[in-house]
Symmetry: C2
Subunit: 590 residues, 2 copies
């Protein structure tokens, strides 16, 4: 399936680029066990800090088995993934979240510190074991502090089960994991976000594609309005771009996933159109676009037909949107094998739509519908929760809050404190389900002060829950940001997007016919997004803005679903905090 099959270095006029062989699966110490169609895939991973040059400037990254990004997991639907994860960090705990995997019957393996498990201590090994039940394009990443920003991420690709086929044809595929990168350490970023006065992390220095980007040079300085010099690569650099080598008149599946800490990205390929066929591990009604928006936490598969002049190469460009961009677009090359990979494209790189052209963004997003035959939502809901997103102050600190509660995670995982009725584990009062009807979402908050809290929304098993995400003006005038909200443990149907405050009149506009199933959905500035899901997966689940610093500043909630039904939590997952103490207490030490 991999198209990274040509490992010969190709010389360019002014720089050489290694055409990297995709050795992920081989490199990741993977052992497959099983005789039936579904397999148990075993991995032994260690997480460590290491020096790396993601954008040609050396910094410390968080790597797995000496690789950055971490090894790609490749499995088939129905397989079980078994990962022995050893923490080789000096003094930090670690967890890994398997983004988009629902963790049916294994909520303890969701990899969210303080929610589904205790962080793994340095020197210790924790075993994640879970089923990948549904084919799709997924990824994994750290979910403790800002370890995702530090580089703890990789791809997780689930193919259809043996004998099954995808509902679209393609000849080969490429896997592009997108991220953004800062030169300031995430440790310092964290301290800044929690400081008084507040220190924002700023825009990323570089956008990375499969962990590779260029900071102080450009692949296409002749086209860009930059003062950067032409990059010169020997080909072995950690920051040398991966070239997509294609044959003419074929169909390629590009698997895209964004694990950015902050950036909303837009992908376009010179002269080529893209047909969207998958979103977040769910098939969508195919639609064709010139460019595609992808927000942090989202994944897509797009089909690319190599139907252009095969004697040319083409730029692939990934630009920043939704924030005034200070970061150069990431570039790489679509190389028709019929021509030399060293031939620079003559057509300029595609121009990223204006950062604040939200109509463009909405137009793209609103084209996404589920593929015919996909599950449809229940036509009624049992409970509807409104979640107002506001930026606030707390004793001079800057926070994000939901219904005026800024989430602060407790040391004891919710899964454990709820399972064992440890009421001091978190605030027992549930946070509000709505906000005052008089709240003006178009103006800065009249009372900017927030509260902090660790309460949860308790959802009844198998009930249908609507969540109306309501955006609002931030602290500054005329400012409202994009927030991509990601739900753990479930997919939701995206019933619709709207402007201003959600109202009864909007009810009729909701799409109950073919809304897309997703795990991440964006709220546009000053707008709302309506979601519906069936709370059929017992566990403690995070639901949060996938922008790393926003979550760090409290922009999330926790959903608790029938935790009494959760069986077989490995005790190692709960060896900290109050659950840890509970276990200890039962044992008297001499």
């Amino acid at each position: 399936m991999s198209s990274f099959s040509n490992s010969s270095a190709t010389r360019w006029p002014r720089f050489n680029i290694l055409l990297i062989t995709c050795c992920y699966v081989l490199c990741s110490t993977m052992v497959v066990v099983g005789t039936s169609a579904a397999k148990v895939r075993h991995f032994k991973w260690h997480v460590e800090y290491m020096f790396w040059s993601p954008d040609c400037e050396e910094r410390v990254v968080m790597g797995i088995n000496g690789q950055f990004p971490g090894p790609t997991i490749r499995a088939r639907a129905g397989d079980t993934i078994h990962i022995d994860l050893t923490n080789k960090l000096g003094t930090e705990g670690v967890v890994i979240h398997w983004h988009g995997i629902r963790q049916l019957e294994t909520p303890w393996a969701d990899g969210t510190a303080s929610i589904s498990q205790c962080a793994i201590n340095p020197g210790e090994t924790f075993t994640y074991r879970f089923k990948v039940d549904k084919a799709g394009t997924y990824f994994y990443h750290g979910h403790y502090g800002m370890q995702r920003s530090a580089g703890l991420y990789g791809s997780l690709i689930v193919d259809v089960a043996q004998g099954q086929t995808e509902p679209f044809h393609y000849d080969s595929e490429f896997n592009l994991l997108l991220s953004d990168w800062w030169h300031q350490t995430t440790h310092e970023q964290e301290v800044g976000l929690s400081s008084k006065p507040f220190r924002w992390i700023g825009e990323p220095q570089t956008v990375l594609v499969n962990g590779r980007g260029q900071y102080n040079c450009s692949l296409a300085p002749n086209f860009a309005n930059s003062s950067s010099n032409q990059c010169t690569f020997k080909g072995t650099e950690q920051c040398a771009p991966q070239i997509l080598r294609v044959q003419p008149n074929k169909t390629y599946r590009l698997r895209l996933a964004s694990t950015t800490a902050l950036a909303s990205l837009n992908l376009a390929i010179g002269n080529h159109k893209l047909t969207v066929v998958e979103a977040d591990g769910n098939y969508v009604k195919p639609f064709t676009v010139d460019d595609l928006d992808i927000y942090s936490g989202e994944s897509y598969s797009v089909l690319l037909h190599t139907d252009q002049n095969p004697n040319q190469n083409y730029w692939i460009s990934l630009g920043v949107r939704a924030r005034l961009p200070k970061t150069q677009p990431a570039l790489t090359i679509l190389n028709y094998k019929t021509t030399s990979a060293s031939k620079l494209p003559t057509i300029p790189p595609p121009t990223t739509p204006a950062w604040n052209d939200y109509n463009h963004s909405k137009s793209f997003t609103k084209q996404i519908f589920s593929l015919m035959g996909s599950p449809t939502p229940p036509t009624t809901f049992d409970r509807r929760i409104f979640l107002l997103n506001t930026q606030n102050k707390l004793d001079g600190f800057i926070k994000w809050s939901i219904n005026n509660v800024s989430l602060t995670l407790p040391p004891t995982p919710y899964l454990g404190s709820i399972k064992f009725g440890l009421k001091s584990g978190f605030n027992q009062v549930s946070p509000p389900e709505e906000f005052p009807s008089t709240y003006d979402v178009l103006a800065p908050p009249t009372n900017p002060n927030t509260t902090v809290g660790s309460g949860v929304y308790k959802l009844e098993f198998n009930t249908t829950v609507d969540i109306i995400l309501q955006n609002a003006n931030a602290l500054a005038n005329n400012t409202s940001e994009i927030h991509p909200w990601h739900l753990h443990g479930h997919d939701f149907w995206v019933l619709g997007y709207g402007e201003g405050k959600f109202s009864k009149a909007d009810e009729a506009k909701l799409n109950l016919k073919n809304p897309p199933l997703r795990n991440t959905a964006v709220i546009f500035p000053f707008g709302w997004t309506a979601l519906r899901f069936v709370a059929d997966n017992p566990g403690a689940w995070a639901f949060h803005c996938h922008i790393e610093p926003h979550l760090h500043m409290g922009m999330g909630v926790v959903l608790a679903i029938s935790i009494d039904r959760v069986k077989e939590i490995p005790s190692e997952a709960l060896s900290c905090g109050l659950t840890g103490k509970m276990f200890l207490k039962k044992n008297s030490l001499p």
Copy 2:
């Protein structure tokens, strides 16, 4: 007792310096409980990262209760210290070691991660409770990863018990906690030390006195051979030096303690002599010097008589020794209150003796004898352990080793794995007690490769143990470094120092009459140091080079003394690793 009693800002001709009021005890949320003479002193501390400018350049430091260095603990001999320590770091564990406190009957409170306890998880609180049984000048510091280097330290001063007196007179005192400071984060330093190729941390940017130093300016540029500019202070800067304000014809006790990560320091005060009266919490036979060497892990009290011209001020200088110094001496002012604090000294700052004038160093160290009436060592030993210090390679990594074993700490604290017989907790084979008699300590190792290990030296209760620390040539030719070795849980008698390899002939030269009791002793280049102690304190105790990166590279051993006698280990101290699992296993989760 404090002389930091004048808080009025004094204007200098070219810069102003705040005369800082010593508010340590008041600031540290201290509550004293108890009616008898001995008290329980309660503290509530939280450890966090914060932005700070120790040397006028802003970096992230590890602070306690918003202070850097952490609050000074002040108690009386016989008091109990009760500290509720809350970890407010994002993703890192933390512990605090109470350096010099023997932890009689409380070995679990020694604050050594992997040895005496599990690191405290983020968000959690651990209670240290221990007796300070002996008056003296102590300090505390992090003992996990390189958190000491990151700034986690403070002073711990124990006064004589109520009604008792010191064996020397003084009118007032100053407390100077010495450290060194890097601009590179300790996280990066750690990664570099563990990388292939190896990356050394280099020399410190600045020497700090009570957490204050000057990097890009000098208090005395007219005297220094530096291109630095004159410092200009408003007085409120975090890096403004503390001035020692004295009255003429008085006696001041300077309490000195060095928690440097690397630097060996030499202190001198223009025109003034210093009389050494205490070392590491033990009284010594007073002797008078022009300047004093202090190695990492050591503490001293010196008496200063203000018998010089009271119309002048004098420089206090702290220069780096024992390594080719690339760091400016730390400077501050001894100000006779009879003259303006703003009057710059006219006499140049004292010149630090040449860094490699080891005769000067040995001359100072060999003047240290115990005060008459101090405990004397047993005249015979039950066991003698030779510890050869070598620098080595391991698969291309650079390590320090003891008898060819580089210490690697396990995730389960030794105190727990030994107490509960968990044999997989660490290497069950004890490391060697001696090294080949043919080993040439004057040449680089012929076989530079080392092993790693986690074995312990098991010592019988109440036996007299000799340790001969044997220095050797490092990997490079004609190179041998100074290493200050620090023992936890005990003081030892320093029986003597010698050149080359310890031999039978040296036996007769050992001082059994009045050797000083200490907890830290240096080995000089190419030399040996002979120590004796009685293993009368059950527990798991670190014994290691106090240079932070050297310990990180494996330069230490662990001593296990009759752990079967240890009672009442709080289970929270052992909630990680195999002990944690053991407790969990006894509880079946549903």
